[in-house]
């Protein structure tokens, strides 16, 4: 009898201890204006962001989805054909990137600004 109770108690515990939070990104992270959107450049903003977030799966020899993001030329190509913004904004028809997460609103805004200004090499 006791043996039969153990799994039940285990399940009960699993239900009881799963503490739920009700957070959302807007309230949890109050943006304090530390997002630089006035001076977005390829070398200072975009390339470090892409190196950090994208290059490990999009470099020569490991071009997932046949997308390369390891140089200005290849990044520019994806910026111009719309896939860069389509993917990071998780738009329909594009593979949502990065897989399983979303870039921060700040990074998204910086990418938007850079692409909309013609994706310059600056």
């Amino acid at each position: 009898m006791i043996k039969r109770l153990i799994p039940g108690l285990f399940l009960a515990g699993l239900l009881f201890f799963s503490a739920c939070y009700y957070d959302n990104k807007e309230d949890l992270y109050i943006v304090e204006g530390n997002c630089n959107t006035t001076d977005v450049t390829f070398s200072q903003t975009i390339q470090p962001l892409i190196n950090d977030q994208c290059v490990s799966c999009h470099k020569a020899g490991n071009a997932n989805g046949n997308v390369l993001l390891d140089s200005y030329t290849t990044i520019k190509e994806q910026a111009d054909n719309g896939r860069l913004l389509g993917s990071v904004h998780h738009e329909g028809g594009y593979s949502a990137m990065p897989p399983g997460s979303t870039l921060s609103n700040c990074s998204l805004a910086q990418l938007d600004i850079w692409v909309q200004s013609g994706a310059p090499e600056n």
């Binding site: 009898m1 039969r4 109770l5 799994p7 039940g8 108690l9 285990f10 399940l11 009960a12 515990g13 699993l14 239900l15 009881f16 799963s18 503490a19 739920c20 939070y21 009700y22 957070d23 959302n24 990104k25 807007e26 309230d27 949890l28 992270y29 530390n34 997002c35 950090d52 977030q53 997932n64 989805g65 046949n66 998780h90 738009e91 329909g92 028809g93 593979s95 949502a96 990065p98 897989p99 399983g100 997460s101 979303t102 870039l103 921060s104 700040c106 990074s107």
Partner: protein
Amino acid sequence: MSAMKKNILRPATWPLFLFSLLLPLIFGAHVLSAQDYVSRTFRGTRVINGHSLETVHTGELEFLISHRFGYINRGAYEFFGLDQASMRLGFEYGVNDRLMLGVGRSTYGKHYDAFAKFRLLRQRTDGKIPLSITLFTSAAINTLKPTDPNFPIYLQSRLAYTWQLLIGGKVNDRLSLQLMPTIVHYNLVETAEDHNDLLSAGAAIRFRFTKNVAILAEYYYVLPGQRTQELHDAFAIGFDINTGSHVFQLQITNATGMIEKAFIGETTGDWAKGDIRLGFNIARTFKLKGRRY
């Protein structure tokens, strides 16, 4: 701490808590022998993406490999999506005829998940109990590195939980049906308008047309108005092929993830646009207790 206090008082958690108190009693119930219950309503522990009402037998360990390729609409250059792949590896164990525990790890979101599945009610061959009900609970943790140093990710923000009732049964020897009312709780959502508790209802059908081959379809409907992003309901259709100690499932679906929080609440693929993935699940069963094969 204040967040926890606040949340324990939320009405949504009360039915679960009360229900959890009843669980030990259910385990004390009289047990009939195996042949009194309807078996193989579904052949595997998964319908396609989601769980079926089946659990693995006592003392059996199942090794489950699930695979989803890229979108078919990417064309011949990417070999119709086969250049990309996302997978989940899982181990699941039957503690007894009613309880099954499992763990898994997914490529998507680098999620680790753990779940418990418990058969509350089992359909009986004599018709006294006309359907089976299985309770499914799981927790999944996203282990991706933070994408922005300005926004640290708190441990609790990485967690999501699923509670699901898998209600169904064998209509006849060939046809099985299942309904899946589901709550997925996300500790962190995008905006204040997004619901942390995502309500959805799933339905699944299985039709067996030869001894070892069956066709399956599975659809999860997410109740409208709960998400601000554009998401799509997960739909999948596939075959399962039984090869003795393996179950091989071949399917097409618009979902990327293979755990509830991912395919119910994070599916961005649109069937109408051809965002369809080819995928397969392979389950291999190892008998750890009792007579070996």
